[in-house]
């Protein structure tokens, strides 16, 4: 019995190790482009023009350093080799105004996320727990909106926003972002899995439906709220076409649109763009690290919980 278990344990351990190795390989594939971006953001323009492939900027490569030490010509003789390591980053802020773009992105993403969470929670709760005429139809209609090709909604949406007089304003950027069928769907799925008995207990204690939602459902729903919050934030942070269309004042641009100003008719200052992109991904990475504890628990699609 014990030997059998030990054998089983051994096999399990080996399988775990194999899985670990395969996953590590996959992780390398996932991370490589990101590493490339970080590496490119540290290159001088000269280095990027001459060597676009390496992960490490030539002036930091060991063989170039050795060559330099031996007095041979090397990448350390190129113009710009004495740049501060983070020059592209500081330039992106000083000349490229990346700090303003980041601030705007943050503002838009936070507001969109907060409002979406609030209104989607209400709607999802109604769809999950309340009974009213047209529930099925309304819910299907809501889901159907996910299928619309955004390219064609762009102009009509602009006409709507422009009709409301919101072009080139804060509200113009965030308002369409408040709509989110996906959020309603995800929240509803989660709410369905919360045992009704808990809520009924709350109702017996004299809570209104809003009270039940606030005091009982929401505390239990933290995983899904965090998950949806993260997804919404990501979507708002990375959205490009809408802010581009609705804004013409550079001071309002979020990072995605702001970075496209770095490009010229022909080429672009790639190292500086990559520096901006790295800075732009930092808040998301941070947020993901904070949220990741809840992430898996928050998604409930299999319909198995609470049965």
């Amino acid at each position: 019995m014990t030997t059998a278990r030990r054998q089983g344990d051994g096999r399990k351990r080996r399988a775990g190790l194999a899985a670990f190795l395969v996953m590590s390989l996959g992780a390398a594939v996932m991370v490589y482009p990101y590493a490339y971006m970080v590496g490119a953001s540290l290159k001088t323009r000269r280095e990027f023009a001459a060597d676009r492939h390496s992960l490490v900027p030539p002036r930091f490569q060991i063989d170039q350093r050795l060559k330099h030490a031996r007095g041979e010509p090397s990448a350390l003789d190129w113009p710009g080799a004495d740049w501060p390591v983070l020059k592209n980053y500081t330039d992106a802020i000083v000349y490229g105004q990346v700090d303003v773009f980041l601030f705007n992105s943050l503002l838009y993403a936070v507001v969109i996320t907060a409002v979406q969470l609030a209104i989607n929670t209400l709607a999802a709760y109604a769809f999950a727990r309340m009974s009213f005429r047209g529930r099925g139809v309304l819910f299907s209609l809501l889901l159907a909106t996910m299928m619309l090709p955004p390219a064609v909604l762009l102009v009509p949406q602009f006409l709507v926003v422009s009709g409301l007089g919101l072009v080139d304003s804060f509200m113009g950027v965030v308002l369409p972002g408040f709509a989110g069928a996906f959020g309603v769907f995800l929240l509803r799925q989660f709410f369905l899995n919360i045992p009704r008995s808990l809520e009924e207990a709350g109702r017996l204690d004299g809570c209104s439906s809003l009270g039940v939602l606030w005091h009982i459902v929401l505390p239990l729903s933290r995983p899904v709220l965090v998950t949806l919050g993260l997804f919404t934030f990501m979507g708002a942070w990375n959205s490009f076409v809408w802010p581009l269309v609705v804004l013409s004042d550079q001071a309002y641009y979020p990072l995605t649109v702001g970075l496209s100003l770095f490009r010229e008719e022909s080429g672009a200052d790639w190292p500086r763009i990559f520096a901006g992109a790295v800075m732009g991904s930092m808040p998301l990475i941070l947020l993901f690290l904070l949220a990741q504890r809840y992430l898996v628990r928050g998604i409930s699609l299999s319909g198995l919980k609470g049965q």
Binding site: G26, A123, V155, R297, S302, L304, K305, G306
Partner: protein, 286 residues
């Protein structure tokens, strides 16, 4: 198991709950959809606004014009969708299974695999142009160019979908596996008879979302290949965008194409739901 909805008391207060969300969706999806349909019945220019009323001519042009790019775009888009489904399901589900097995660093893996989905697609596309080029001429042949942009899409989506599958796997009660093991099921049988059926809803969800996302593929084609070489990556969203904003007076035509795409997608998803539904095992929800 499920309590009949009809037996419950109707709660009119629910309308107040759904009002804010519905109002925004109404304004920005349904009103916009209406406008877009109206546009598709006209000759329309982004600068000039409404032109002549042409009825169904824009639709007819898309469907019947000789050497119409519409059908080419439909073909490419459908091919892309199929590649994306196979690719995303084929990577994210095994990855999720592996990730649960991995001895160390599960949460680290989750983070690393998620990295692609938090990087903007524009930046990703730019980087991948370089990487793909080093891997050979995959992007340059008209036979494989579509595959190359699909690879990028799959690469970006697999981590995100792995999380969805992980969530689904976590919800499967451990007892089911123990029962299977008692019955002497092999790993493969376990997967076939326990994991897969119990993941059905997640599978449906992921597939639907992949179809929706993939059918709207735009950024990779726009940034990486611009529809080339020889139109092999000319996808619907790209066609719609070009006609709407780059060609004079073709916004009505673009809207018509988008509506046709919408119809096609709808059919696609309905079929897919049917396929899954016929093998329905568990009820969707309580």
């Amino acid at each position: 198991m499920a309590r009949g909805i009809g037996k419950e008391r109707r709660q009119p207060v629910a309308y107040l709950y759904i009002a804010p969300a519905l109002a925004v969706v109404l304004l920005f999806s349904f009103v916009s959809m209406g406008i877009s349909f109206y546009v598709s019945l006209h000759q329309w220019d982004p600068f000039q606004g409404k032109g002549q009323f042409v009825g169904g001519a824009n639709y007819a042009r898309a469907l019947t014009e000789p050497n119409s790019i519409f059908w080419l775009a439909v073909r490419n888009t459908l091919l892309y969708v199929v590649m994306a489904i196979i690719g995303v399901l084929g990577t994210s589900l095994p990855l999720a299974l592996l990730c649960r097995r991995a001895r160390y660093g599960q949460s680290l893996f989750r983070t690393l695999y998620f990295l692609p989905s938090i990087t903007p697609m524009v930046v990703i596309s730019l980087i991948w142009i370089w990487l793909l080029q080093r891997m050979g001429a995959i992007m340059d042949r008209s036979q494989t160019a579509l595959l190359s942009i699909a690879l990028v899409g799959i690469w970006q989506a697999s981590g995100y979908n792995m999380l969805l599958f992980l969530a689904g796997l976590n919800e499967i009660p451990q007892e089911y596996y123990e029962a299977a093991r008692v019955d002497g099921a092999s790993r493969l049988q376990e997967f076939r008879h326990v994991t897969l059926p119990l993941l059905r809803n997640t599978l449906v969800f992921v597939t639907v979302m992949v179809i929706i996302g993939a059918s709207q593929v735009f950024t990779q084609a726009y940034v990486m290949t611009r529809g080339g070489p020889q139109r092999s990556t000319e996808v619907m969203a790209l066609q719609v965008f070009k006609n709407a904003f780059s060609y004079a007076g073709q916004m009505g035509y673009a809207s018509a194409m988008a509506w046709l795409l919408f119809a096609l997608l709808f059919v696609f998803i309905l079929i897919q739901m049917r396929v899954f539904r016929s093998r329905r095992i568990y009820d969707e929800s309580s």
